[in-house]
């Protein structure tokens, strides 16, 4: 460019000048194209992520079920104590009644593998709930076991050689016959939301994780919301500017950037090791998460307080309000929408946090949801981690479905935050 300037009178239509200009404009376009490429890559990767999750996860939202009639033989179940009957045999007899030509222990076992392993307990629960069924029949719709669920959903191809799939040719024939009898259905999988965890993919659900996450977030909110607001009010409205308050400020900024796993180490050493709080409890999880969300809440609260114009404070002070009254009666209510928005976003982050919860043991295998904040529990992200580690094929779909549920919760929380911001936040 420099020599162009020194040349004095320039002929702009000169071929060299034109070529130079074309080159510069081409460079401009190249940068623009590079930018578009970068954005396309980022958007494309997000797209691939979501498509692959939905692609593997959507099938877990339906579940193959089999409707069967179980004759409750009074010889196998004692009316005095219906819980102790031989329900294994009842289930086996029910299946054998449908396929009278199946004989031999091994074949009968293979036949019963079509049903979920817990069928006998479901029959038992039905009989215990209504002992008058003894001697009659119970019609139940039970989940098919994982391999047959996969077969029905087309995940296991019938063309694969028999040795390479988990269902034998004979089992497929039986399954097709059940299908021909209209016993196979594919309803919405409510169990995904209302069952607790299980070793069997067809029975595993998220209820324990959802309840655990709820308790942990509740504890986290109850600790970090009031503490964060109080700290922010002090630092923003009352604190003198000196080395102490500077130290606190630097501290909060650095805490916000400490890796989450370090908070897990803190929880393990202090809350579990020193205070002796119970392992895997949502109380401890919530306390660790609250320490992580605290800096976020303090930072957003300070921003919201700063956004309230000084005229409000001066007006209230001029009317004779004390400094505390100014803050409590005027500034804080006006800053509340901003604080709430930031808090919800902080809670959404806490909901997705996994690593610190692993360290305090919230990745236990539990088959019932927690009853309180001191019971052992899992959380949604740790449940996803457990399922992602499970070898059974059915858990791949469950994991994706669990992730979709988690993302659903996060989207709802963020939508509420955006709604609050647009509805309540005022500009001065």
């Amino acid at each position: 460019m420099a020599d162009t300037i020194l040349r004095g009178n320039i002929d702009w239509s000169d071929s060299r000048a034109l070529a130079h200009r074309r080159r510069r404009h081409a460079a401009d376009r190249r940068l623009q194209i590079a930018g578009i490429t970068a954005i396309s890559i980022a958007v494309g990767l997000l797209g691939i992520l979501i498509v692959s999750l939905i692609g593997t996860g959507y099938k877990a939202f339906v579940q193959t079920k089999i409707t069967l009639e179980f004759p409750i033989d009074p010889e196998l179940v004692d009316a005095e104590s219906p819980a102790d009957g031989n329900y294994r045999l009842i289930v086996r007899n029910a299946m054998q009644a449908l396929f009278p030509d199946v004989e031999g222990t091994a074949d009968l076992k293979a036949l019963n593998e079509i049903l979920t392993n817990n069928t006998q307990f479901m029959v038992r629960d039905a009989v215990v709930a209504d002992p008058s069924l003894i001697g009659g029949t119970v019609a139940l719709t039970v989940p098919a076991s994982d391999p047959f669920d996969q077969l029905n959903k087309g995940e296991i191809a019938r063309e694969t050689p028999e040795a390479q799939r988990r269902v034998t040719d004979r089992q497929i024939v039986w399954f097709d016959e059940l299908e021909a009898q209209g016993r196979i259905s594919l309803p919405f999988n409510w169990g995904l939301f209302f069952n607790a965890d299980s070793r069997f993919p067809e029975l595993a659900g998220l209820s324990g994780a959802i309840v655990g996450s709820f308790f942990a977030l509740l504890v986290c909110f109850l600790i970090s919301f009031p503490t964060g607001i109080a700290a922010a009010i002090y630092l923003e409205e009352f604190a003198p500017r000196n080395r102490w308050t500077d130290l606190i400020e630097v501290n909060i900024n650095n805490l916000a950037a400490v890796p989450s796993i370090v908070f897990g180490l803190l929880g393990l050493a202090v809350f579990l090791g020193f205070f002796g709080l119970p392992r895997s409890a949502p109380l401890v999880g919530g306390m660790v998460l609250s320490l992580m969300t605290l800096p976020t809440i303090i930072i957003v609260t300070r921003a919201a307080l700063k956004a309230v114009p000084p005229s409000i404070r001066e007006g209230a002070l001029g009317m004779g309000a004390s400094k505390h009254q100014v803050v409590m009666h005027h500034v804080l209510p006006l800053a509340m929408p901003g604080i709430l928005t930031g808090t919800i976003i902080g809670m959404a982050q806490a909901l997705g946090e996994t690593a610190p919860l692993l360290l305090i043991g919230m990745n236990a295998f539990l088959t019932s949801p927690p009853g309180g904040i001191l019971d052992a529990a899992t959380a949604l992200p740790t449940q996803i981690f457990i399922w992602a580690d499970s070898p059974e094929r059915g858990f791949v779909a469950r994991t994706s479905a669990g992730i979709l549920v988690l993302l659903g919760f996060l989207m709802v929380m963020n939508a509420v935050a955006i709604f609050l911001r647009q509805r309540l936040e005022r500009t001065w």
């Binding site: 958007v43 900024n253 650095n254 370090v262 180490l265």
Partner: protein, 459 residues
């Protein structure tokens, strides 16, 4: 029980509030204009003096009850058991007693233990009821005491405001206490680790095999704690992540600031926020489910064998996670360059790309560098992606197609399902955590100071 006690405190504080407020109302009605504080402050004054001491007492009680009961239990054990017993042996007795109380019987307990277990249960029940009674008594005494101080000229508001200020200062100290807690707990456990393993071996050793034998006859590694391969693995994965994220994030920011119109910005910004808001466990599963098989298939397609948990996979996916971080920080940095510089450059006839590359980016460089450092500290401390997608075995390699392990992976695998705090295996996790904390802290302090200096330059 503790929950009920806290409910009781809340209820009593409410009652105290209304008692105090009614006094305040009486003063107000009696002498118009001569009362100092509004009735609400009289109420709050009484409530504060009923609620806060009770709450402090409950917390102290809950904290001290366990150790006191344990001490009583040890004293109640016959001398034949405790005489000359070591600390560990007594701890063993205590955990046995607790197991008996919880009904977890592994072997037939001795009669002494059974008796102690009964004592334990009885004392705990007594302690819980005693707490309820003492707390209730405290509140019942405090209420009239606080109420007698109320008078028309009593400065209830100033009193309440002082208490509130103290509470607010206490809350802002929580951040300091948290940092102190992190530092002290990491240092404490690390010192115990360096008691068993010399610091020089940890920092400069090149063999990391924390699987120490649990029994004497077990065949296992001897337990080598040289963390160099773990550090290099962390660096390798974080570098790959930065190599993926920096160009994409920076170019995204450049395009959004200089070329994009509002419509594009309105679409791209939320997408970047979505990328930033996705939990890391989701990225980890994405790496295992989609990226790892794709990389492996591609590798075998061109005849290269790729390890199932190649560093490339974990690093690449971590890079995706960091893109929005870099793009938003670079965006801020470029926007913070004074408009006059940009306008001047454009007025001289420079194209937009020349303005960006020769004027805006050099001016914004410190801010962008700060952003990149912050992102690097994120990459080093990121856990779930590497736990799910990277390897467990520490190999000293810089080949991105090999499997390496990271500091965070080792912390998680060393600590999951293990709460024994006395063997080097678990303590090693705290030493690694200390290194992680120091490195990320240093990166953050550096980044924040660069960003601050740079911001001051243009303000």
């Amino acid at each position: 029980m503790a929950g009920y006690v806290i409910l009781l405190i809340v209820a009593m504080s409410l009652i105290a509030y209304f008692v105090g407020r009614s006094s305040g109302l009486k003063f107000e009605r009696a002498g118009r204009g001569s009362t100092h504080s509004r009735p609400g402050y009289h109420g709050a004054f009484v409530a504060v003096w009923v609620g806060i001491p009770a709450l402090v007492l409950v917390l102290l009680w809950l904290f001290l009850q366990g150790p006191v009961v344990d001490r009583l239990l040890i004293a109640s054990l016959p001398d034949t058991m405790t005489a000359g017993a070591s600390r560990a042996q007594i701890d063993l007795y205590l955990s046995e007693i607790q197991n008996v109380v919880a009904g977890r019987l592994f072997s037939e307990p001795t009669p002494e233990i059974v008796a102690a277990a009964e004592n334990f249960e009885r004392w705990n029940i007594i302690a819980r009821w005693a707490m309820l009674v003492v707390v209730a008594a405290l509140m019942v005494v405090a209420l009239p005491l606080a109420r007698t101080r109320l008078a028309p000229r009593f400065r209830a508001r100033n009193n309440v405001e002082r208490v509130m200020s103290a509470l607010m200062i206490f809350c802002s100290l929580v951040a300091i206490v948290t940092t102190l807690g992190i530092v002290v707990s990491l240092l404490f456990e690390s010192f115990r680790f360096f008691d068993k393993v010399p610091l020089s071996e940890f920092l400069f050793g090149t063999s990391w095999e924390p699987q120490i034998p649990l029994r004497d006859d077990q065949v296992a590694g001897l337990g080598a704690f040289g963390a160099i391969p773990v550090f290099t693995g962390t660096l390798l994965i974080a570098s790959i992540a930065m190599l993926v994220a920096t160009p994409i994030g920076l170019l995204t920011a450049v395009y959004l600031v200089e070329y994009a119109d509002n419509r594009v910005r309105r679409i791209v910004k939320p997408i970047m926020e979505m990328l930033a808001g996705i939990p890391t466990v989701v990225y980890g599963f994405f790496a295992v489910l989609t990226v790892a098989p794709a990389v492996r298939d591609f590798g075998s397609g061109i005849g290269i064998s790729v390890s199932p948990n190649a560093a490339l996979v974990a690093g690449g996916v971590m890079g995706i996670m960091i893109i929005p971080f870099i793009s938003s920080l670079s965006d801020d940095a470029i926007k913070a360059v004074p408009r006059s510089m940009r306008d001047g450059s454009l007025a001289m006839g420079a194209t937009r790309s020349e303005t960006m590359i020769r004027v805006l980016l050099p001016a914004a460089l410190p801010g962008i560098m700060g952003g990149i450092l912050l992102a690097a500290s994120r990459a080093i401390g990121e856990t779930m992606i590497v736990v799910m997608a990277a390897g467990l075995i520490a190999t000293l390699t810089f080949n991105p197609l090999d499997s390496v392990t990271t500091v965070t992976v080792q912390i998680v695998t060393l600590l999951i399902g293990d709460t024994e705090f006395d063997n080097p295996k678990t303590l090693a996790a705290f030493a690694l955590g200390l290194v992680l904390f120091i490195v990320t802290l240093a990166l953050n302090v550096l980044a924040l100071s660069i960003v601050r200096k740079y911001r001051e330059k243009y303000e």
